[in-house]
Symmetry: C2
Subunit: 452 residues, 2 copies
């Protein structure tokens, strides 16, 4: 028979079992944390009608979309989870309760140029709160808490949730009579981290045609930093000159007011006036999250407030606030940086039973009992030599191996070896199961991400 060479498409992540177990741990933590904040899980189709999915029109991403026909239907794979959410909320509006809080962890597709660390199929893990007509600023204030709890639950400590407000930026540029250039200016200012203040100033004067005074004013403004009180006091100095600015400042104050009550430590939060995020979508608070030791990764959790989720589908005003984690890319980077905790058990089973007798009935029965006690148990099935069986246990990385021979069966006991310590005990099943559970609790106690 002619063989086809098996391969996985470039830009598509396919993990080996131990890595996949780490990914599963991360996803379980995201589901749990998002759930703790009262978000309901959603699952929407990977495929939508192109007319619906591309209602907004393409923009930069249109070329990247996987679009095809099937019969008469013009179809596209979703490229984010926001457009499907907009469709979902508009379509099921009458059956939903607002504010509507949902999370979704799902794959999205973008046919980007293939390069290392860039994915064409990747998971996004999103939460959004959607209001009907109005949505209180308190929702924006709660978002940093969700980010904090999520990253803390994953094991991260050294990260910063950076927050800004688009109204502050828009109001500020309006004060300088630069409202019509604000988009261009924000794109330039966004390069600050990469190219430094001097080059930004040069771009502002040369390419944006600002006066040196305007450029200086902008650089002075975005340089405002320090703890929340310091930044807010500095911003107070601009108050009273522009309504939009004042509204944004009030919102920023509301967002920062309850950080401690929401459990967000000061060291994990910063007002950062350089953050703008996209240009036509966000209208209020915007968020970015950076890993302190890995600024080169960029933001690992971003989002913001928007005024009109579903304007392409409905007349209803549906304001919202949401954040998104680019999970596949984050996982890739954590893996590359060696930040995933490889000490956590990643074997398919907690216990591998090696039957040492011809008749496997007793071993099958033991497997059933261990499983009913909640232990993930594999019964070794192949008629191999003892050495080959132990080598299998080793390669699998299974934490415990249980031996069941005539002696043990006669005595009503089992023998169990802790594969990391080498320690072996022979005791009745209940005692062994209890010891295994205690050991597993220890072995599983670490976080899935380990900072160095």
């Amino acid at each position: 028979m002619e063989r086809i060479k098996p391969r996985t498409l470039s830009g598509f992540m396919e993990l080996l079992p131990p890595r996949q177990q780490q990914m599963e741990r991360i996803m379980a933590i995201l589901r749990r944390t998002y759930g703790l904040y009262g978000f309901t899980p959603l699952d929407t189709p990977l495929i939508e009608s192109s007319e619906v999915l591309l209602a907004k029109g393409g923009g930069d991403t249109e070329k990247q979309i996987y679009r095809f026909t099937k019969g008469d239907a013009d179809l596209s794979l979703r490229f984010d989870l926001t457009v499907p959410l907009a469709k979902y909320v508009a379509l099921h509006y009458n059956e939903l309760v607002f504010p509507f809080r949902r999370y979704q962890i799902g794959k999205v597709y973008r046919g980007e140029r293939a390069q290392r660390g860039r994915f064409r199929e990747f998971y996004q893990a999103d939460i959004d709160v959607i209001g009907d007509g109005k949505l209180d600023i308190l929702n924006e204030a709660e978002i940093p808490a969700i980010i904090y709890e999520t990253f803390t639950a994953l094991g991260l400590r050294r990260f910063c949730i950076r927050v800004n407000n688009r109204k502050i930026l828009n109001g500020f540029y309006a004060m300088l009579s630069l409202a019509d250039k604000s988009g261009e200016i924000m794109r330039t200012v966004d390069k600050l981290d990469k190219i430094g203040a001097e080059k930004v100033r040069a771009l502002l004067t040369d390419e944006c045609a600002l006066s040196p005074a305007q450029s200086d004013e902008i650089l002075r403004f975005i340089a405002i930093s320090g703890d929340n009180d310091t930044v807010l006091r500095a911003l107070d100095g601009y108050a009273g000159r522009n309504e939009i600015f004042d509204a944004g400042l009030a919102e920023l104050k509301a967002v920062t007011a309850h950080l401690a009550a929401f459990g967000v430590p000061a060291e994990n939060f910063a007002v950062d006036l350089t953050i703008a995020r996209g240009l036509d979508y966000y209208t209020g608070t915007v968020y970015e999250t950076t890993l302190t030791d890995h600024p080169e990764i960029g933001s690992v959790c971003s989002g913001g407030r928007y005024d009109n989720l579903a304007e392409y589908y409905t007349d209803r005003q549906l304001p919202g606030v949401g954040i998104s984690i680019g999970l596949t890319r984050l996982f890739y980077v954590l893996s590359e940086q060696g930040l995933l905790n490889d000490a956590l058990p990643s074997a398919p089973a907690d216990v591998l039973i090696l039957p040492m007798t011809e008749n496997v009935g007793a071993a099958a029965s033991l497997a059933t009992q261990l499983r009913r006690a909640g232990l993930r148990t594999q019964l070794y099935t192949e008629g191999k030599k003892f050495k080959a069986k132990m080598s299998y246990a080793d390669k699998l990385g299974v934490p415990y191996v249980v031996f069941l021979g005539e002696d043990e069966i006669a005595k009503g006991e089992i023998s169990c070896k802790d594969m990391s310590s080498g320690e072996q005990i022979t005791a009745p099943l209940d005692a062994v199961a209890a010891q295994i559970k205690a050991g597993l609790a220890r072995k599983n106690s670490g976080a899935v991400i380990l900072e160095k």
Copy 2:
């Protein structure tokens, strides 16, 4: 602005939040049960190169495949989880340990004719054990236990795991010198449940051109039924006439030998000689699972033994055994039949906090504490009247509402209402949290599927 009418494609399941919560419960149970049996989770791309995915050639399903080009690439959406598994095992052979046990719960795509209850995007929930060169019959013997535990964990009691062995069928037809017609005969016999014995006999003589004696012999054979011992004794009467038959009978005996040890009650298991499953893929034990009260649904969990998983990709002999649950269709049918347990909480949160004061700091702080105690907590954020807030809680179906007013804050207490009983208590947080947890354990104790 011109609006696009929002819609979801026909044949694509998109659930409202309470139903989605039920689906999540089912998926969590599948993950847990599959995990208990030592299967490792896998996640493979939705898209594969058409050359790889269609290596086997199309057959009946080729027309149904979503196939398209992107740039130069000829791509297809996966139509099952078995072909991607074959590719995965062939591609990563050197990095895997055999027997390799994996589960995968993922969406697959088939562009079938749209009709009620038929899905073009649907979840399959598969487990497979793959051997390297050989795979012991014990793996086939363990499969009924996995099916039993899975369906029991979902809440089902009245189901039957029906098992047969392809070698028994092939050997039997060889005895009748009908080996070359066995495919045709099995397809005809497969209609027994639908059209009855008389019509099957007519088809066998008219369309398959069998003699009346041969047809009678076949109908007598497939009518063999009863408990395992009875069936095996009847099959013993055919032994010694054909090697393949004898091998199949030995396998069937091995599969039934340890059912009790594997925890499968006799009433949930039957040898059923009418089961054949597909024609060119399975080579040994085959499985179907039917709901006793809903035979019209057909099999809800099927699979079997195969000798060569990845023959299109590799020379290596990779035998395996696997089963698959068509999850989306099962969920649809359960929902249609009213078998999903709507009494289980399906709200996004366990607790909804209604702040009754201007300053929401205390409420935010309470939310943080409840979440850290493990309670899924939503802080109500909107400035609405009390009645509107309670109506929101009602519509959401949230089990507990917590009120936090000046009185409670002053006394260091909170007031909590059980929304189903109407009972209300005012007590310190720890006491309330403990009571909520006890109540939730009760409310969540039922199974997700309720037989009538």
